[in-house]
């Protein structure tokens, strides 16, 4: 039968057409890059290898970097968010107690709840970066060429920076707590992260110092941009570490090395909203956001810290970052920094230097644009500007990680506490008089030199994430009000003072850590602060 053959041939024919190796050739294109495609890329363009290294820095302030764009959390922006959280837990940095405030967990101190996203992000971003640093250290650690050695040095400095960020979250100050449990150490040698107990404070500092010493021994002055680490940055991180540990003289010496080649911003330069551009000569190190990362994104410092973005929680929902009036009132009128916040009457001289939608000067304070800009509230900050222009929607503000001003104050503090009070005082007065308040005197505030330096840090570094770490190392209480409600502009629910030894100050490890790392013993003790608690506590600065 002839047709038998025809039909069988036909079927056999199509069978051979489709039977091939296709199942091994299904790769994604775009969106995600697989490991195989990476190898392919590196073969074709070897220079692309550097992208991983760049990624280690790029992730630091990436919007939605921890939970992904799918979740789109407005508080998911890495180290910047951690800095704002640290300040919002402090005394000087205030958000209103409204439904728009994603940082209310910090204002009210529910950030100790182990299943909350806020402590998760603050913790995860650090270890995500540590992992990348570790990967670089293991893959390039044995190489002898200058470029690889430089990268490893930067990775070590990053790792040290990361641990130094973590330490004050989970344990009290170094002095007296060296043997208390701190955080788990993860290095390429860590056998099993799933059974990795908390290292002691001493062990963590040992790692930090070893890494920084290694980095400093390799790094020079050159770098690709201010997001990267050079010797200045490495010295600066070590200055901080020494400050935390109480190695005062070393802290001063390192700070001096860190600031080499950098000069503070002048009075003129900070008489307009600024601190958003890493190119500024006073920035030693910063997080640089690209326009693409930041376009129209709420998870950015522009959305939470600047009062001048048209796509922001601050202006859009009146969730402005304000200064505590207790600190504001301490700033002399002659200090240019008095203008970094609008006063009770919504006035600041800085506003006359900018315009938004045709409004200029104090008219910006009261400007209302439906869905875009709510009027300012008293003590709204105008310290931070908009890199891409006032009233724009591109939230690509850079975020300062280290400014020369911090190093000057660090140097002063190190000297003051290592017995060189006179020199310290001179450095302090030189800086403030030249760059902030021509009629400054270190004693006019009536504070001890140490407290005066802390006061300067609180004013100068407001909104940059130093408050809680300073409290921790200085053994200072968090003083948000004095005796009564009228003393502060803190929302009622956030109005309380915290004793420096309150165990509630220590963060709790996230469920996602303790559930998967059996060796972690969590911090305990204390309870959520109650409104108006400890009304008589004082911190030596706002007394």
């Amino acid at each position: 039968m002839k047709f038998n053959k025809i039909s069988i041939l036909a079927v056999a024919g199509v069978l051979t057409l489709t039977a091939c190796d296709d199942v091994n050739k299904q790769e994604p294109a775009g969106g995600m890059i697989t490991a195989d495609q990476l190898t392919e890329t590196y073969t074709a363009i070897p220079g692309r290898v550097d992208a991983t290294f760049a990624g280690m820095f790029n992730m630091m302030g990436e919007p939605y970097g921890v939970f992904g764009t799918g979740r789109g959390r407005a508080d998911d922006f890495g180290f910047v968010m951690a800095a704002l959280s640290q300040d919002a837990e402090g005394a000087d940095y205030i958000y209103p107690n409204s439904g728009y405030n994603w940082f209310s967990v910090c204002g009210e101190y529910t950030s100790r709840t182990p299943n909350y996203a806020n402590p998760y992000i603050r913790y995860a971003i650090v270890y995500n970066q540590i992992k990348i640093a570790n990967d670089l250290i293991s893959s390039l650690g044995a190489l002898e060429d200058a470029s690889s050695k430089n990268k490893v040095a930067q990775a070590k400095a990053i790792r040290a920076f990361d641990y130094l960020n973590l330490v004050p979250y989970f344990q009290f100050n170094y002095q007296g707590h060296q043997n208390d449990p701190c955080v788990p150490i993860v290095t390429p040698e860590t056998p099993d992260p799933a059974n990795n107990p908390r290292a002691s404070v001493q062990e963590v500092y040992d790692l930090i110092m070893t890494d920084l010493n290694d980095a400093i021994s390799v790094l020079g002055n050159d770098r690709e941009n201010k997001a990267r680490i050079n010797s200045n940055v490495a010295y600066g991180i070590r200055a901080r570490a020494n400050l935390y540990m109480g190695n005062w003289a070393d802290a001063a010496a390192d700070a001096a090395k860190a600031m080499e080649g950098y000069t503070p911003a002048s009075i003129a330069e900070v008489s307009t909203p600024s601190f958003v551009n890493a190119d500024d000569h006073n920035w030693i190190w910063g997080i640089i956001l690209t326009d693409d990362q930041a376009k129209d994104r709420y998870a950015t410092s522009a959305s939470w810290l600047s009062s001048f973005s048209a796509s922001a929680y601050t202006a859009g929902a009146a969730c402005y970052a304000m200064i505590n009036k207790m600190l504001f009132d301490k700033i002399p009128a002659t200090d240019v920094r008095k203008g970094w916040w609008v006063d009770e009457n919504l006035h600041s001289p800085l506003l006359s230097t900018i315009s938004w939608n045709g409004a200029t000067g104090d008219a910006i304070s009261t400007l209302f644009l439906a869905d875009v800009k709510e009027p300012f509230v008293p003590y709204t900050n105008v310290k931070f500007g908009m890199k891409k222009g006032i009233g724009g929607t591109i939230n690509s503000n850079d975020f300062p990680l280290m400014r020369v001003e911090e190093m000057i104050l660090t140097q002063a503090e190190g000297l003051a506490k290592s017995g060189n009070e006179a020199q310290a005082k001179q450095i302090l007065e030189n800086f403030v008089k030249t760059y902030r308040d021509p009629s400054y005197s270190a004693t006019a505030g009536g504070r001890s030199l140490a407290d005066e330096i802390w006061y300067q840090r609180r004013v100068e570094l407001w909104g940059e994430g130093f408050f809680m770490a300073d409290c921790n190392r200085l053994h200072k209480p968090v003083v948000r009000f004095h005796d009564n409600a009228a003393s502060t502009n803190q929302p009622d629910a956030f109005r309380f003072n915290i004793d420096p030894d309150d165990p509630w100050l220590l963060m709790r490890f996230s469920d996602s850590e303790t559930n998967a790392n059996a060796a972690i013993v969590n911090n305990t003790g204390g309870s959520q602060p109650k409104q108006d608690q400890n009304p008589s506590l004082r911190d030596g600065v706002t007394d």
Binding site: F3, N4, S7, I8, V14, T18, D22, V23, N24, Q26, E27, P28, A29, G30, G31, I33, T34, A35, L38, A51, A54, N58, G68, G70, P96, N97, S98, G99, T110, Y120, Y127, N128, I130, I132, P184, P193, A194, E224, N225, D292, K295, A318, L369, A370, D371, V372, E374, G392, T393, I394, D492, D511, S512, E513, N515, A516, I520, G526, S527, D532
Partner: protein, 1075 residues
């Protein structure tokens, strides 16, 4: 007639052949019941294999071999008959009442139900047509044992329910069944299929039925078969429906009186002080100062006018009786609006379908066209669907039949802004459910008139002199001015050629192509939330392209005097899936109403993106089916499958099944048991695979970090700024391979009392091993997703299913039937990864522990209210001085001290459906119910409505009024003082019974008598009214337990219900005419 025809196609290949010519005999086979010809009846020369099937007129013609005189005529559903051969003979067959529903659609073909050794549930066209739903899957709800339908949205544009068959077998991999449309795997949108085109849906539940689908059959298979021609006389059918959609689930029982709301909020502010050591005077002063201060826990708005010098709430904490609703500050007048009533409304639904079909000796055709316009329950929410289908088979040669089945559908959809999981200010459903009853929706001038601007209504978006404490913008306004329009084009085509080279052997080649293109145009209006950018346009293009190649060889034969029947199938199947995505957006729209990039002139915020994902499976399959005297049945299958989701070397898996059945009623010893028509015992065992790990396509998120189609590979994301930067986003696992499930099914099918009572009882046990599982790693490990995929662990789903259909009354004029199906199953985790065996895997609201289930809730336990203080009490685990748990549970008012507990499985103990149909004197009445018993669900919406002070301005459930006060100490609602520590944590206090009873469908129809309509040249005419989704009875008003399986928290669980598109009720009237 449909039964007879289905069989016609099945058995077509059985008997086509040649025989030696001797004496020529021709005749007709007719049904004794109605005298209509029987198509496809087997006419066989007795004792030989010579024979043929009757044609579409019931006619046959064959030549008798020498010595043969009798013919045996058989047809399924009829008693077979042996008669003397006579030219021109007319043979009447008597219906065999015991043999109802003889043929079912199975994997790669159809099968006599009696020969089927597996477990399946079938829903026929009649049941599907009874539903007024744009989605064919909804007709499975409550209709089939072992099948759970979870409707996650009532959105008319996007209502594809989740289907779960016999429990949940995977942890991190997909649990969706494989959908097979006309024999080919289908990945299209289920609501692109016009339910009117569907002949039947079969759910294959056990391994022997579905293991042949190997790769993707582990979660069950749903076979959808579209219609074909039925009668020689062309049939034209027209169907029209008009109806109304309305919101099914009511709002929770919230405080609607603005005064009461203020009063309650005032008390909370007062309590926050009085329980913090303040005096009554201080507390009152505090509350009075802050009640309007949205930045201090207050509500922001003043909407009552109180006489000069008086306060809104008096020192007795009651609303000032002199307070008058409505307040003017000279610039605006403030009075609350009912957002819920303003936003929700009924809408019109209309649907028209026309089909024509017929059969000639060589051609079978079915063609249809349909139009549907389905409205939503808020503005700018609707869908129009145009569908067309052409299904043709042509017998080209005796040995070659070609066929094609092509369907095109186009949908236009308008979607409101909402999310299925997340409450946000832009989500219209969330806002309308959650906003306090004190806020105006519109801005009014001092006279109280709603203001307009350039003809547009001015909505209150915090643009007056007051600011809300919560909820930025105005979602109702945004829904009016913004647009999300989606256009879908779907083409599904199947092309097949069937060769019959020798008797009994068929070789078929099938090619199926499915192409889906959708384009979404989002307009964010400058009159709404996009005023900062002067309007934005967002464009999304999704393209799916699937190709299935399938080559099958099937040989059927019988031997030893037709006592042994053998059916062998072998084949190759390959499936390729391509998903392509493109996105672009820009702002500054010149014309504020056009959401296209060409109308967007912005320069700063231009964004674009695109990517492609590929996925493929291929496999070799074989099956042998054998029976002896149609009494003992054996079915066995094997498949070797590869999936591109796994790394080379881990791609291929082997899957197989064995099924046995014994039709006991055919044994001699059963012949005298007259009341038993049929009794069959069956058992099967098989192994299947599951590869569904990673993100499935369709998600608009490009930064999804769950692995896509290559979960085995490490994945990075790149960006550029002064050089390239690369970040690891996903940690893969090269060793990842198939998740395997081993399923046992044992059952009995029965038919009693001449078919008056039929049913099935089955036991199943499905063990899944090598689970595809995203293993959590500690955050300190720095893995960007906090997890990586491995094969570990074992889960069992075992249970019992029961299905029964009874005919209660059967006379010439009245037939009354009732049906009931029940499923009980238990989900057990048998084994977990070693690292987590001791403590289990703790998710935010669930816990996986050995011996527990995948649905064990994990949350804080509420210990009631401290009668003295009114504080909420929570349990915690007592520890001795060494930190070891003593086993005792203590209570604390300090939430930070409380512990989370495993609160047990939330899965229902029993679920099912029941229904009834009454046909009497031309009237037909039917209804179908669905229910669930013994489970729990987390009511996150209720938790949000029982909020404390951190949610000022959010609606309040009336239960909050039962809060503890010194005068009301015996309550389980703690005092209102802002227990902010609990926040959004999951507490078992908000868990509630998930029992429900729903009336899915009720239909009343009338079919006009033939004598009335014949003069109108009509064949049939039926008018009907139908109600779909008529009611859901649940434990709490506002709760829809059908939204999830029960696990959840504040923002999930039933919380979805208020954040997403609520379910709709549809009532329609229609008529159906056949020419």
């Amino acid at each position: 007639m449909e039964k007879r025809l289905t069989l016609f196609f099945v058995s077509l290949f059985l008997f086509v052949g040649s025989a030696l010519a001797q004496t020529k005999v021709s005749g007709t086979v007719l049904s004794q019941e109605d005298g209509q010809p029987i198509i496809g009846a087997a006419v066989q020369v007795t004792g030989t294999s010579t024979g043929m099937l009757t044609d579409v007129n019931g006619r046959f013609s064959l030549t008798l071999p020498e010595g043969s005189k009798t013919l045996t005529i058989s047809y399924l559903g009829y008693e077979s008959k042996t008669v003397n051969a006579k030219n021109g003979m007319r043979v009447f067959l008597k219906a065999d009442v015991a043999a109802l529903d003889e043929v079912i659609v199975v994997a790669y073909g159809t099968q006599k139900k009696s020969a089927f050794t597996g477990s399946a549930a079938q829903v026929d066209a009649k049941a599907i047509e009874a539903h007024v739903s744009s989605n064919v899957a909804n007709s499975l709800a409550g209709a089939a044992p072992g099948v759970q339908i979870i409707n996650t949205s009532g959105d008319p544009t996007n209502s594809s329910p989740t289907i779960r068959i016999r429990g949940v077998g995977s942890m991190s991999a997909g649990n969706n069944p494989l959908i097979v449309l006309d024999g080919m795997p289908y990945d299209g949108a289920l609501n692109s299929i016009n339910p009117n085109d569907v002949e039947s849906m079969t759910v294959l539940k056990d391994a022997s039925a579905s293991a042949i689908y190997g790769a993707r059959g582990a979660n069950g298979v749903v076979l959808i078969t579209t219609k074909k021609g039925r009668n020689q006389d062309a049939e034209i059918k027209f169907d029209a429906k008009w109806g109304s959609n309305s919101r099914l689930i009511p709002q929770y029982d919230v405080i609607t009186d603005p005064g009461q709301y203020y009063e309650t909020h005032f008390k909370q502010l007062y309590n926050s002080q009085i329980y913090n050591g303040k005096t009554a005077g201080e507390a009152y002063a505090f509350a009075n100062k802050n009640i309007y201060d949205q930045n201090n826990g207050g509500l922001g708005y003043q909407i009552f006018t109180v006489p000069e010098g008086e306060n809104l709430v008096g020192s007795n904490l009651r609303l000032n009786p002199n307070a008058k609703l409505g307040y003017s500050d000279g610039e605006y007048y403030y009075t609350p609006d009912n957002w819920y009533d303003e936003a929700f409304h009924n809408s019109f639904r209309q649907e028209y379908n026309i089909s024509l079909s017929g059969v000639t000796d060589k051609l079978n055709y079915y063609a249809s066209a349909g139009y549907l316009k389905d409205g939503g329950i808020v503005n700018n929410s609707d869908m129009q669907r145009y569908t067309a289908r052409l299904n043709v088979d042509y017998q080209v040669k005796k040995w070659l039949k070609v066929g094609t089945n092509m369907a095109f559908s186009h949908r236009d959809a308008n979607q409101p802004s909402y999310s299925s999981s997340w409450g946000s200010s832009g989500n219209i459903f969330y806002i309308c459910n959650m906003i306090a009853p004190i806020y105006p929706l519109y801005v009014r001038d001092p006279q109280g008139n709603i203001m307009t601007e350039d003809g547009r209504t001015v909505y209150d978006s915090n643009n007056t002199n007051f600011k809300r404490a919560n909820f930025v913008g105005n979602a109702v306004r945004d829904n009016e001015v913004n647009r999300t329009k989606t256009y879908y084009d779907n083409f599904d085509g199947k092309f097949s050629a069937v060769f019959t080279p020798i008797e009994g052997l068929t070789l078929s080649a099938n090619l199926a192509v499915s192409s889906r293109n959708s384009r979404e145009n989002d307009l964010s209006s400058t009159f709404g939330s996009a005023s900062a950018t002067d309007g934005g346009a967002y464009l999304y293009h999704f393209r799916f392209f699937n190709v299935t190649n399938q080559y099958l060889a099937n040989y059927r034969t019988d031997f030893a005097n037709n006592t042994h029947h053998l059916d062998v199938l072998a084949g190759y199947e390959q499936y390729k899936h391509k998903y392509q995505y493109m996105y672009g957006s820009n702002d500054h729209l010149f014309n504020p109403y056009i959401g296209e990039l060409g109308n967007a002139a912005g320069s700063d915020n231009k964004q674009m993106n695109s990517f492609t994902h590929n996925y493929m499976t291929e496999g070799y399959l074989a099956r042998i089916q054998y029976d002896y005297k149609e009494k003992y049945f054996l079915s066995t299958s094997y498949r070797r499958d590869a999936s591109s989701r796994f790394a080379p070397g881990h791609r291929w898996g082997n899957f197989y099944s064995v099924g046995l059945a014994w039709e006991m009623s055919k044994e001699k010893f059963m012949q005298n048991v007259k009341w038993v028509d049929m009794l069959k015992l069956k058992a099967s065992y098989g192994e299947q695979g599951n590869d569904a790990i990673g993100t499935s396509a369709g998600s608009a998120s490009t930064s999804s970090t769950t692995g896509w189609f290559t979960p085995y590979a490490d994945q990075y994301e790149s960006s550029y700024a002064d050089g390239y930067s690369l970040v690891l986003k996903y940690k893969g696992n090269e060793n990842l391979t198939w998740e395997k499930s081993k399923a046992i099914n044992v059952g009995v099918d029965f038919s009693l009392f001449k078919g008056r009572l039929t049913g099935t009882l089955e036991y199943f046990n499905r063990k899944t091993s090598d689970l595809l599982y995203y293993k959590p790693v500690p955050l300190s490990a720095g893995n960007p997703t906090g997890q990586y995929p491995i094969n570990v662990g074992k889960i069992t789903n075992k249970g019992v299913e029961f299905n029964v259909v009874g005919t209660i009354i059967k006379t010439n004029d009245i037939v009354w039937t009732a049906n009931l199906n029940l499923t009980h199953y238990k989900n057990t985790i048998d084994e977990l990864d070693e690292s987590v065996r001791e403590n289990g895997i703790k998710n935010s609201t669930s816990i996986y522990e050995e011996g527990g289930s995948l649905y064990d809730a994990y949350m804080f336990k509420y210990a009631g209210v401290d009668k003295e203080t009114g504080q909420a009490l929570y349990y915690y685990k007592e520890k001795d001085e060494n930190g070891n748990e003593t086993g005792r549970d203590l209570t604390t008012a300090n939430f930070s001290q409380a512990d989370k507990y495993n609160c047990g499985s939330v899965l229902p103990k029993l679920y099912g459906g029941f229904g009834t149909t009454l046909n009497a004197y031309g009237f037909d009445l039917s209804c179908q119910f669905q229910f669930q018993l013994g489970g729990k669900i987390y009511d996150g919406s209720y938790q949000a409505l029982m909020h404390t002070q951190d949610a000022a301005g959010q609606a309040w459930h009336k239960d909050a009024l039962k809060a503890w006060t010194p005068e009301n100490p015996n309550t389980d609602v703690p005092r209102l003082d802002g227990d902010t520590q609990v926040g959004q944590s999951a507490v078992d206090r908000f868990q509630i019974s998930s029992n429900y009873l729903s009336l899915n469908n009720a239909t009343l129809g009338y079919t006009f008598p033939k004598k009335l309509i014949t003069p109108l040249t009509l064949t049939s005419l039926r008018v009907y009214v139908a109600g779909e989704n008529l009611f859901v009875l649940s434990k709490r008003k506002g709760l829809d337990p059908r939204y999830s399986l029960g696990i959840g928290g504040y923002t999930s669980g039933s919380g979805l219900n208020t954040n997403s598109y609520s379910s709709m009720r549809t009532i329609t009237a229609g008529l159906s005419v056949t020419f």
